[in-house]
Structure formats: C-alpha cells, structure tokens
C-alpha cells in the first residue's frame, strides 16, 4: 500500500494546490485529500475561474460530456418523526408543510413528466425515518404501475425512503430499484448539530447494505448548514470513502418554521468553489446539482456550475420546493453542447 504516504506527502506539498490537483486528480484520477480540499475551499475569488476550469477538465476526463438527468417526487410528504433541522417535512417543527400522500395514478403521472424531459432516472421519495409495510407496498405498486406504461417502462427507478433493515434492502432490490438515495447530509463531526434523532453511523450502515445488495448508492448532502470550511472538506472526503455512484449537492433553502429558517443563503461564489472542490475530491462520481441552486446561483450560476464539475441535474421541481422549469435546464444543456445521458448508457 503506497496511497497513504503519497497523500501525506501531498498534504505538505508547498506547491499550489491547483498544480497538485492537475497532476493528482486530472492526470491520475486520484481525489484530493481532506487537507487539499480545504486548501481549495480557501482559494481567493480571483482563482475561481481557474478552479472551475480544472474541475470541468476533471469531469470531462473521468466522466465524459454526458449529463445525467433525473426527476424526483415525494410519495409521502411531511409528518416525519425525525428532527433534521433543515427539513420542512419534520413533524417536530412548526413548518407550514402539511402531510400528504401521492396516489399511484399521481405517481405514474410524475414519472411520465420526468420521462418526457429525457431523464433516465426517476426517484421516489418519502419523508420517513424508515419505510413500514404500507409504504413498501405502495412503492411496489407504484413501480409496477410505472413499468406498465410504455412511456416509463424502461426508466431507471431510484428510491429514498430513509434508513433500511436488511430485509427492506433485499425487498427494494427485488423490486428492481436501480439506485438508493440516503444522504449523509454533512460531515460526521457536524451531524449531531443537524440531526439528534438518529446518528451519522446509522445512515452509513444503510448505505453499506444498499451497496452490498447490488443497488447503486446515491449519497450527498446540503451545503450551508453552519458547517465550517474544514467540515466541508471533511464531508467531501468522507463521501469519497463511501465510493458512491452519485453525490447530489444541495444548497440550504432556509425554510420557514425550521431551526434554519434564518440561515443565510449560500453565496454563489462560495457555492461554485464548493462544487469544484467536491469534483476534485470525487473525480469519477456523478455529481448532481440538486435543491437550492435556484436561490444560490440564479440562472447564470447554474451554467457556471455545469462548467465547473457538475455532470448531473435534477430537472423540474423538488419534493416540497419548486425548481426551474425543466425546459430551461434542457435548453441550457443544449447551449453548452452537453448531451443528455441516454438510457442505454446506464444499463
């Protein structure tokens, strides 16, 4: 094993961190260490353009020009017993979000809306600690109904249903769930400030079971929840250690009624620097623009992000928040000459 000595040497390398990244990440495909990611996050604004260009080169070299497009929908909204401080769906906070269940015809309509954008992924999400029998039964019925429709028969179906037992992992794999999303949300050292009703390790355990069952692992988090830059670097490297197939990057939407309702929106420059830093930590991973980019970036910043390391997007609306109309993102990809990943490339 030579990786550890190399990393230690790189951490103390006096060269500019982008020079190191060019050799280590772009040429060799090895993600940055925690110390190196922190140095990237601390780069001054006048290095941003250079950083984004390198992150884009890394993405093109190790992932290619295709962009993976996904749609998501909330099957069960609100009333969650957990206390994730960013979440408007927690039943523990006075959020205006009320509980709702989407019926099967509604779920199929949502899948059709997603497929119509050219998306290859459709993610079914529920605000729960973990799924009960009723929810799993609803998911099974929903998947069967989606598969029965010609427009959606071959779309990849992902799920995000909270923490799982081994039996539940096996059941979802048996349903043909392609990818499972379970975000670690933030650095392990910051997690107790964000969630108190379960632990980072419990989430990690679910992710390991998902991987072992042969499903793809989707795991990301939210930037802007009071974490330090060092904790952002810690998080990027912890995600890299998980080796996820996909990392969705969200930027905090300060939702009314939640403990974070008065937190500031992450500034665009800081967000772009974070996107690029995560790309340099995760050179081969699908890095997806997710919630909050509309508030953080606006229209222009979204394009910069696509040219700064991102290679996947959620199109349309999110779970309880709205996104840009899908057509705007599709036009942006066309303008950037970035082809949408075709379904046959995912099989």
């Amino acid at each position: 094993m030579t990786a550890a000595p190399q990393t230690a040497a790189a951490d103390t390398d006096p060269r500019d961190v982008l020079s190191i990244a060019r050799e280590q990440v772009l040429e060799r495909g090895e993600g940055l260490s925690e110390e190196q990611v922190l140095r990237v996050l601390q780069l001054p604004e006048d290095r941003l353009e250079e950083l984004l260009a390198l992150a884009h080169e890394v993405r093109m070299r190790w992932c290619g020009p295709e962009v993976e497009v996904e749609g998501i929908v909330s099957l069960k909204t609100g009333g969650c017993p957990e206390d994730c401080h960013f979440c408007s769906q927690s039943g523990q906070f006075p959020s205006p979000v009320r509980s709702a269940w989407l019926d099967i015809p509604g779920l199929v309509r949502a899948a059709k809306q997603t497929a119509a954008t050219g998306a290859t992924e459709f993610c079914i999400v529920a605000a729960v600690r973990g799924p009960d029998k009723r929810l799993l039964s609803q998911v099974r019925s929903g998947i069967e109904a989606i598969r029965a429709e010609p427009e959606t028969s071959d779309i990849n179906i992902a799920c995000s249903l909270g923490m799982l037992t081994q039996d539940q992992v096996d059941e979802l794999a048996d349903m043909g769930v392609h990818r499972y999303n379970h975000n670690l949300e933030t650095a392990k050292s910051h997690f107790p400030e964000v969630v108190t009703t379960h632990s980072w390790e419990e989430r990690w355990d679910t992710l390991r079971m998902v991987r072992d069952a042969g499903m793809e692992v989707c795991c990301g988090g939210i930037i802007g929840m009071g974490e330090t830059l060092a904790q952002r670097a810690e998080f990027a490297v912890q995600l890299a250690a998980l080796e996820p197939d996909e990392v969705p990057l969200n930027f905090l939407i300060p939702n009314p009624g939640t403990p974070y309702e008065n937190y500031p929106v992450v500034e665009g420059v800081e967000a772009l620097r974070t996107v690029a830093a995560f790309r340099l930590a995760l050179p081969r991973t699908i890095l997806r623009f997710a919630g909050g980019r509309e508030l953080t970036f606006g229209d222009l910043g979204a394009k910069q992000g696509m040219l700064g390391g991102i290679n996947a997007i959620i199109v349309g609306n999110y779970l309880t928040n709205l996104g840009r109309p899908a057509v705007q993102d599709l036009e942006m990809l066309d303008e950037l000459s970035m082809p949408i990943k075709a379904l046959n490339q995912t099989l």
């Binding site: 205006p96 009320r98 509604g106 949502a110 954008t117 509309e294 508030l295 349309g316 609306n317």
Partner: protein, 66 residues
C-alpha cells in the same frame, strides 16, 4: 386581490410581502389559502403543484400561471 399571503399566511394588507412574493415565484408553492389563510395540503410534482384548502378547494400551478 388576495386577502392573505400564500407564503406566510398573514394579511396582505398588513406588513411587507415582497420577500414572500420572491420565494413564491422562485422556490415555493403557496402553503396558505389566499382566501382564508388555512394551511393547505400541497403536492409538488416534477412539473407543477396542487394545493387543497379544506374550505376553498383545490388550486394548481396551471391556474396560477393562467
């Protein structure tokens, strides 16, 4: 003229609702009925939203953009 703000649920005749309007236009569907300020049951889907008030019925994103 709506009587109540769809974002914060307060009277539109009182206070400033510019920030509420910004959020409604960008990232949030309405959560409060504009006629009675009841919290609505809202379902967001990839291409729209529907919001149901127990007293005043359903509204949708299609109606809102008409």
């Amino acid at each position: 003229m709506d009587e109540f703000c769809g974002w914060c649920g307060k009277s539109t005749g009182e206070g400033e609702h510019g920030a509420c309007a910004s959020r409604l236009g960008l990232v949030d569907p309405p959560r409060f009925c504009s006629a009675c300020a009841r919290r609505m049951v809202v379902q967001v889907t990839p291409a729209g939203w529907s919001a149901r008030c127990s007293r005043h019925g359903e509204s949708t994103s299609e109606q809102a953009t008409d």
